[in-house]
Symmetry: D3
Subunit: 326 residues, 6 copies
């Protein structure tokens, strides 16, 4: 991709960050980009759905809040020494259609929207939640746009919760179940699934069973504190350059840093640890991603929404670095 | 009912209002009351459901917040000169079971819970929301416990919205539709339905059509400002002593007074006007009621939850006054 | 008092309201005023005490919050056509000493502080709460500085509550009891006491008994809505120019306007109605006053603290107008 | 204008209000409208500037917050019986460029942006603040696009403050001065200027002098309470159908209703009174307008931003009604 | 204790966490448990008292807020591999009676309530504050129910403050003094007292004197950062299996994690560090405990109340592990 | 300086921290100190200016909020074993005059105020912001009062941002530029400038150029995580006892700890790390300092303002320790 064929941001030295269109990190709207026939490396879209929650709702307002707060996310990474807007062509694809009254139909609707975004061979998908149930839709669309790889995609999963409960309150489609459903669909490969930051207390000991039986690599918070990135490094090493999907539940970060979420889990990683963990993944090829569970009504100083914008930035850095370094 | 057979409150002169069990307005728990074989005039229960909303969710936490704030609701009314805990035997019946994933099934579940509360001939039902969709369930249960009166119950309805939309976002069961569903079920009589406080802007002019075609008496906020209680008085006069149902959506009150709600409608009645309107109904026989749409996450100083407690109190006063004056 | 002998404010056209010393309404500190040998018409002091509350504490931070918010209170009244800083010499006398562990000893301590403020023949006292129990101390000091008038001072009382409970939770000294204690001390005359804005619900009907038996004139909120200022005007007319004390509990104003208070009472007068009521008192001679029950932790947008500053201003206007018009 | 040549809104029955592009009241973006060659009756743009304030800054985030909250503003008015999106073609023109470091240059910059918006003969301008200093720019642009009418435009002004201070803290360009500057420029006619809702306390009595000397019609809040709309009706009657400009400072509404503002003035009109006052203007021809001084950081439950959206709606109704009724 | 003789929780898979009775961590009410003649290992009660504070009051609402937030505390610990509701029989014993007007009498009253809870030989006591002064009462009751062990109980104390001030503002009974009073009463043994997390700045250097003179082992925050758990491990090792009391002041945790407290001390341990420290105590026998100083009005995102619930859980884990491993 | 010639604090054992004059950390007002002819080691003044910001304004209220919160800052440091009020004579010098409409003139005005504070040979200056642009003024005044040392003062700089941008939005004077302007003026020496805590993302890679070209020692957050205090220790060692200036931007601390700031940068040091870093500087001679960028409207639980008070305390400790140890 030549330099002249990238999307660009408004110049923060002439258009202040409190003014102008309010898109994800100030990336241009996909519909405006399309009229200029620019290629798009990542289409980032909102998935404003929260009817899959088991506790506190409100993440349907997540995409809007993240667009708002992410006006202050800048493009140059000091640790990676890269400007992602120079390395990547990025666009805000708007919001997927949702059905707030039916979790399964909603997953279908978002999946179709994501699947049909232009240029499936080239453009990668990042979904911004919404609750974690929407990950299913983006994973499925990514898998399909990548040619339905057999065995499913490897999955790197940051979360306090495993989200592999088969049924909750009588329902198989909720934010407790996206990965069990995605495994059943063949979209992800549980044996190449890494869940980082899992912590208790849990409802019952059996909540760990599914992951263990299906070969998921779990790094609990306590394990991470004790061993550092040993297991993670091994997983990444094993993975190599194989295309994978990355799902980031903001509740993996301690509620002191990310209060705006619906099922807060006390005692987690810090923002700085989250950034360091993501940077440590440099070398992998992320072909799809999501950042979920930001709940603006609990986000007392809007830190969580801004943090989500930074997480998005760090994920995009991984792709920018890969392209530079390959 | 003899004086010795009433439920009682903890003495606020010995148990301070910030201590002790946290039930609606400090009324005793129904299960404790039952073990003492006391009659119960009103069973008040929570309906923690909000998956019927079209905009902002969160009212599932309404019952809990109202229990909390209503610790400061006292029992003696100066204008009515009556102490409702001397006139009525009251109990907190806990929360109805809910299904947060299916609005129709949820309505069924709450209806069954309410229908099966003890002593159907004597005990009246007050449901505390939750979104307005739960009114359907309590109306239906009330209608059934009252012997399924033909033509349905008269309905007095305080709200900014008519809630008679047939379908929203592809769904017939939501907080936009409880009364169209209740009319269809024969549980309420639209010709004896009074909707007070309706105001715009509306989605379309046609949103008024159903109510007008079915004979609902509408008193818009602007009409109320212009004519006062003229239409309301006429309706009440016509109604006489016929048993009726009262549904109170907190968003009928201006958001300055009741910020904690999901579809706030600017420019409404004040708290004092709401109390005065309810007191003006004195003489009617309320056989079932609900207070809905309190959303704690938006309730910045907890005024809305406390206000809901006062609305509950004023509704109960109507029954206390009727018993005294008949 | 000659023009050259008044205290003055910083010029808001050169020292912005967000800068400089943070005293009540920007009036100078009494200790600085004293060194200039200026007369002081009103010494305004904080009474940061809240251990007399029966429900929610926190008004100990009231004086500080009111100083902060009142930086935006300006000195010229359009309706009275008077600039109070031209008519009066005003000073912030700092905070009274308090005893947060003993309500009775605290009252003693504040009383002594207030009694001993300089120039008792000339300087009038305004106490800023703190909870309503501190009114007792300021009333007693005012009464003593005025020469201990027999029968006690007349009292004009704005409040949602009567505050004439003999004993609460085993205690005779609390914010429920200041006026019963002041009557017992002979500092106020219950027959010339006017309580405006009283409203329910009450704990019991008997809470009204003391006031009724002792001849207090009560104007409930509902009565005010019905009759306007009829009873108030009659009381003021009867009072004439007799020196009186004015006590203003911020909870008389509806919680939509004044959320920052500890025992909020739903359905009250508006800010504008409060100002109008105070202006209507023009002609009376206020010789002491207090503004109480501002609780900053509940004051979500700091409206209550600013409102308290305006109430202070309106009370001072009464004295400014009296001096001009006599 | 034919029906087929209007801009349209997303259907709230298929795209929920918490999803999709976040423009003022969901009106389409001007740049998208232009590509469809639609006429535009009103171009509504943000003016995110707050460096003209004398007290609390933050209104630079006003346009963004109002776009967010106004997703819930619907298009059909019951009192006017009109759907403004059927009567008018409306567009969100984005944000004007600003200079946060220089109030005068900023006014110039916004003026040029507004002046140069397409189709000056047809398209009317509504500016959304930002602080009140931005009104100068929109008034000047409106005046110029209307052919620079001699004597300036009549002005209808809702505000707690007159905003005719010549100089503040050494500066002639601030939110205290837009109208004195606009009179000096000949853009507005002070003799046909109506200021509604003015209230004290003021810094000095002389703050009223400019307006009185230049023939401004002032209706203070107290005057409005006493006489109702008498003076306003007379002004409107006199004005007839002459094109005029309408400027609405949200602080004219009581802080209980509109806490999110920088110079809150206690004791004002309610939201309902504001709507009624605007509706009473029906018959006038508004050719330019602004809504200013919304400060999101103080807007504890986002009521102020939503209220601003409703005010915008009521102003647009005036134009819709005029077109229907002429 | 056989499996069939334990208390049980509502099933979170059928009764959602936002519904149903709101007891500590959803443990059953003691009065309901008693009617089933179940043994109770821990009676957990609220102590809603805050009149012992020297700075910011409001912890009287702590028990209620913790009950609310702790609905989301689950029972299975991954690090301990134990489900506490399978290992222990737990009950919510309601709130102790309090005297908000007298700190010493209040301590007496809570002590009597705790002492008289059923089954003193078996049931252990956990008190939930309230300010730290209430620890005295629970320590004394625990000591008495354990047969008044000579020399007093060992004490493990997490706190930013030593709470061994003899007198504050003229008062010997306050939240600054519980441990000096408990030592005087012979209920705790200062030579076997460990204070973890102490940090400055202090009022004076002499504030350390009492603890040092009486043999208290102090681990300041800075010492903990430097040496880790060395001193703590040695203390625990020395203690062995001797029954001890554990008191946890939430302000030991940094205010970023626990903002809802009255005397916040900047620069403390994280939530994760607190959990790890508590888990490291595994092996000791805790026979009484308290968690205090949660102040809901400052708890901006309710993190502090939820954190308190997790601390309660970790303390109960210690007893569950001891029973399993002995 | 003899013991009798120090300023003193109110005794917190008799005047509670919620009462009395509200100065920085309860230090006496300079004007009262002067009348007692006491020497002053540090004059601490507010600089309530925020018109230099490029994103979110509001720090003009910083000094007031820090005065308020810092009432709870105590004087004895455990790690340093020193009571700063015994070692230093401290005073609150009030607020500098500001010009909110012109960043350059404002810098001039604050500079003149600071320069002219009494006793320039002895009294050191600490400025409390306000935005970081005010550092220029205090640096310049300090440099001048110290005899205009050639080459400028060494600078120790804690910040997330370098603040060496030449021009922003067309303006050379803003909070992005204080150090480039101070270098140009010769007041600081970039070769002896240490910037700790810098982190990205940045606008462009070139934002690092100025610092690198002028020899600034940068320790990014990531570098600090990797190497600890190695570079910092080397710088301090090199510096020796040479008089230096210390500037502390609160946004160097992670927003979880310091949410109240205008350009929050995710992933930073903790409060405890900040304290440890400052303590590690012990041995240097600080002759001027500032603490800036506290924005109260975003400071949800007032933690940031209290934290700023602690930072002030730690900086003053450095001077107290130096005097003791020299």
């Amino acid at each position: 991709m030549s330099e002249t064929k990238r999307t660009t941001l408004p110049n923060a030295r002439t258009t202040p960050r409190f003014a102008g269109p309010c898109t994800f990190c100030r990336y241009p709207l996909l519909e405006l980009v399309e009229s200029e026939h620019l290629p798009v490396d990542w289409a980032i879209y909102g998935a404003p759905f929260d009817s899959g929650v088991t506790y506190r709702p409100g993440t349907r307002f997540g995409p809007r809040a993240i667009r708002d707060a992410s006006q202050y996310v800048k493009p140059y990474s000091i640790p990676h020494d890269i400007d992602i807007t120079e390395a990547l062509s990025l666009a805000d694809a708007g919001d997927a259609p949702v059905n707030p009254f039916d979790c399964k139909q909603n997953a279908e609707r978002i999946y179709e929207f994501a699947r049909d975004l232009p240029d499936p061979d080239h453009t990668r998908l990042m979904a911004i939640g919404g609750d974690h149930s929407i990950a299913y839709a983006n994973i499925r669309a990514t898998w399909e746009r990548r040619g339905k790889p057999e065995g499913g995609l490897p999955l790197i999963h940051f979360d306090s919760h495993l989200d592999t409960v088969d049924m909750t309150l009588g329902e198989k489609w909720s934010h407790a179940s996206p990965f069990i459903r995605a495994v059943e669909g063949g979209f992800i490969d549980p044996k190449r699934m890494l869940s980082v930051g899992i912590k208790g207390p849990l409802n019952t000991k059996t909540d760990l069973a599914y992951a263990k039986e299906h070969g998921v690599t779990i790094v609990t918070y306590e394990q991470f504190q004790a061993e550092g990135t040993r297991t993670i490094d091994a997983f990444v090493n094993e993975l190599g350059e194989e295309p994978c999907y990355l799902t980031f539940d903001i509740d993996v970060i301690d509620p002191a840093y990310a209060p705006g979420t619906g099922t807060p889990s006390m005692g987690g990683i810090t923002s700085a640890e989250a950034f360091a963990l993501l940077r440590r993944l440099a070398g992998i090829e992320v072909v799809g991603a999501d950042v979920v569970e930001v709940l603006p009504d609990r986000d007392v100083a809007q830190n969580t929404a801004l943090l989500a914008g930074h997480i998005m930035f760090e994920i995009l850095c991984l792709d920018a670095v890969r392209r530079r370094d390959r």
